[in-house]
């Protein structure tokens, strides 16, 4: 995996320097491939605070910690819920596979003292009442959509590609998404989600990003459901990369022991 990551990093870096001058325009698919393959490190850990704000300005806050490890074939993620109090010590684990298999998911409910396998079919469900679906929080493989480069434009002083992605699966919850990808680091800066009537549903914007342990990392992001005027802001804190999270972190024992 180290070799692969190093390869990706080296490839990406050389492409950043080389592509715009010699290959001309990238296609929409190439751009989204670069976004997907942006090196993220072999593992990531940190805390996450979600602030949900409704159209009356009322706020609800959820905090959790998460650990992610990717060996190239399998990405394992485990989340430990901290607040609100009624979900404290609940944990959620997801294994997703690069070969396209359905994810495996488990939830540990401390009241029942039982780890339960759950269906990963609920990717359209909203995560903890937020404006993010489980699918929004994951890495959607670019092969699942057709991509078209619409234009290039500058947003908030940053040169961006604007790419429209249309799902190949007609049953997908969005009819299309439009993504603003920063040219210099291939991070998505902004994304619009359109519902099944092709009407703007949600807008995702990156509020803060930085290099953490050598990797471009999103540190604050905001999702606004424009139809319901409901907003979710996610802040990532104490983010650490490549600290060597052991495999034992992603086990039933870990789920029951908690953070």
């Amino acid at each position: 995996m180290k070799t692969k990551t190093l390869f990706l990093m080296m490839t990406s870096l050389s492409l950043f320097a080389f592509v715009p001058h010699t290959m001309g325009q990238l296609t929409g698919s190439q751009i989204m491939e670069k976004v997907y393959n942006n090196p993220a490190g072999e593992d990531t850990q940190g805390s996450m605070t979600m602030t949900l704000t409704n159209n009356r300005g009322e706020q609800r806050i959820r905090t959790l910690s998460q650990f992610i490890k990717d060996d190239g074939a399998t990405e394992k993620k485990i989340m430990f819920f901290i607040t609100p109090a009624d979900v404290k010590n609940t944990s959620f684990m997801n294994w997703s596979y690069s070969d396209g298999r359905s994810d495996d998911q488990w939830i540990y409910l401390p009241a029942l003292k039982r780890t339960k396998r759950i269906s990963s079919d609920g990717k359209n469900d909203y995560f903890m009442g937020s404006d993010f679906t489980y699918d929004d929080l994951g890495d959607r493989h670019p092969d699942m959509d057709d991509h078209k480069l619409l234009r290039e434009e500058t947003v908030e002083g940053r040169a961006c590609y604007v790419v429209e992605s249309t799902p190949r699966d007609g049953d997908y919850m969005y009819s299309k998404t439009v993504t603003w990808v920063m040219k210099d680091n291939f991070l998505g800066l902004k994304r619009e989600f359109y519902d099944d009537r092709n009407t703007l549903l949600k807008t995702l914007s990156i509020q803060k990003f930085d290099k953490v342990d050598g990797f471009w990392t999103i540190l604050e992001t905001k999702m606004h459901n424009v139809q319901k005027d409901h907003t979710t802001v996610i802040k990532f804190t104490d983010v650490q990369k490549n600290k060597g999270i052991p495999d034992s972190r992603f086990t039933e024992r870990s789920m029951t022991l908690g953070n």
Binding site: L52, R60, I61, T83, P84, A85, D86, K88, W95, Y97, R101, S102, D104, W106, A111, L112, K113, R114, T115, K116, R117, I118, S119, S120, D121, G122, D125, Y126, M128, G129, S130, H230, D247, S248, T251, E252, R253, L257, G258
Partner: protein
């Protein structure tokens, strides 16, 4: 004497909170008001209960502890205080030792107890308490060895704890299948607290991409006593004039397994056990004390599915007595099904749930619709009903106990 326990709790809680402030001990729990009304003609209160449940925890790299005291306060100023759990953990790299009172939950079935045999049950309100309150902690030593995603657990329970049954005056006291009211002989109703009478359980479990499974075994005491009967017959009329019931607990052995696996968008669950050493009531005249020892199988097949955001779950459960003999009061096959439908609205603020046990053998059921609304983070209001149908069986025997209820719960 009546006030000693609450006083102890107050002192304990004060000390605990003080300790929490000083030693960075995590404190959580809930406070709850629970009001239930029978819907019979008398409109009796089924329950008026206030609860405080406190969880004190501290976790270090190698050592952790948890103490979970609870207090139920009833309308007649009766108090019930207990420790749901109180244990110490010693954690090593691939090994864990937990000593103390602990709830141990095994198996994949929901709402039924097939291989889930370690923690005894509190059935003082039948099956209506929340599941975390139905499971009683059991004082035990649990050793766990962890290898990858597999776990081997051995549990030693030095002292047997039986099922907690409702008091005789309770509306949840089960019907007894006797033609006359028996007198009780409690001379054999205690299991002596000795090393020889301890219990042993073992479980191997594994979690993986294709499936999760558990293999379990146990050598233990059955949590419910067998009632050995002595019939008093009038020598002239040859009619039954009296009964003496002698409750006695018996040793059992169980082996079983459970699994859970994805099949497309569906989760399939299964669980089964083979049990030996249970005594069943019988009317056969060849059984002098009206009991007979039989082995039995207990198994479940279930599916979980999400449709249009509604979580659906169904289980088919069956008990089968092997080498069945005429006269045994239980049916050879006893079949139950469970159904669950659950959906959230308003961004997980409002929950609607329908859960039902359906007794196929006795055509009885327990139907439990409920609605829950989160007024604020951690503060829920819940309203629901417990509806019993049928005239016999596990659920039908309570057909006069239909109730509606409301719970206010604040989690902290």
């Amino acid at each position: 004497m009546k006030f000693i326990r609450p006083l102890l709790i107050l002192i304990f809680s004060t000390l605990a909170f003080t300790a929490g402030a000083q030693e960075n001990i995590s404190i959580s729990g809930f406070v709850r008001n629970y009001t239930g009304l029978l819907t019979n003609e008398e409109k009796d209160w089924a329950i008026l209960q206030n609860t405080i449940n406190i969880v004190l925890e501290q976790k270090n790299e190698k050592v952790a502890f948890k103490v979970n005291p609870y207090l139920y306060h009833y309308f007649d100023n009766d108090f019930e205080f207990g420790l749901r759990e109180a244990y110490i953990d010693l954690n090593f790299n691939n090994f864990n030792l937990r000593a103390g009172k602990q709830q141990i939950i095994w198996g994949k079935a929901e709402g039924v107890f097939i291989t889930d045999i370690v923690s005894p049950k509190d059935l003082s309100e039948f099956l209506l308490r929340d599941f975390e309150e139905i499971r009683m902690g059991v004082t035990s030593l649990k050793a766990g060895y962890y290898y990858g995603n597999s776990t081997l657990e051995v549990v030693w329970v030095p002292v047997f704890t039986p099922t907690r049954m409702p008091e005789e005056s309770s509306i949840w006291a089960p019907e007894l299948p006797f033609p006359v009211t028996p007198t009780y002989d409690y001379s054999t109703s205690e299991v002596r607290k000795s090393l020889d009478n301890s219990e042993l359980f073992i479980r191997f479990s594994s979690m993986g991409s294709k499936a999760d499974f558990e293999i379990v075994g146990g050598y233990f005491w059955r949590d419910d006593p067998a009632l050995h009967l002595t019939r008093i017959i009038d020598p002239v009329s040859m009619q039954l004039t009296g009964l003496t019931a002698r409750p006695e607990y018996h040793r059992m052995m169980m082996t079983g397994m459970s699994f859970s696996m994805p099949f497309g968008p569906v989760i399939i669950r299964g669980e089964g056990s083979y049990n030996s050493g249970r005594y069943f009531q019988t009317e056969a005249q060849t059984a002098p004390d009206a009991t007979i020892e039989k082995d039995y199988l207990y198994y479940m097949a279930g599916v979980d599915y999400t449709l249009a955001g509604i979580r659906l779950s169904m289980q088919y459960i069956q008990e089968y007595i092997t080498n069945y003999e005429t006269g045994i009061l239980n049916d050879q096959f006893e079949t139950t099904m469970t159904f669950l439908a659950r959906k959230d609205f308003l961004r997980e603020r409002l929950w609607l749930e329908f859960f039902a046990y359906a007794g196929i053998t006795h055509r009885d059921a327990l139907i439990r619709p409920r609605i829950s609304y989160s007024l604020a983070d951690g503060f829920d209001i819940q309203a629901g009903a417990n509806i019993f149908t049928g005239t016999e069986g596990h659920f039908g025997q309570y057909n006069e106990n239909d109730m509606i209820y409301m719970k206010l719960k604040y989690s902290f």
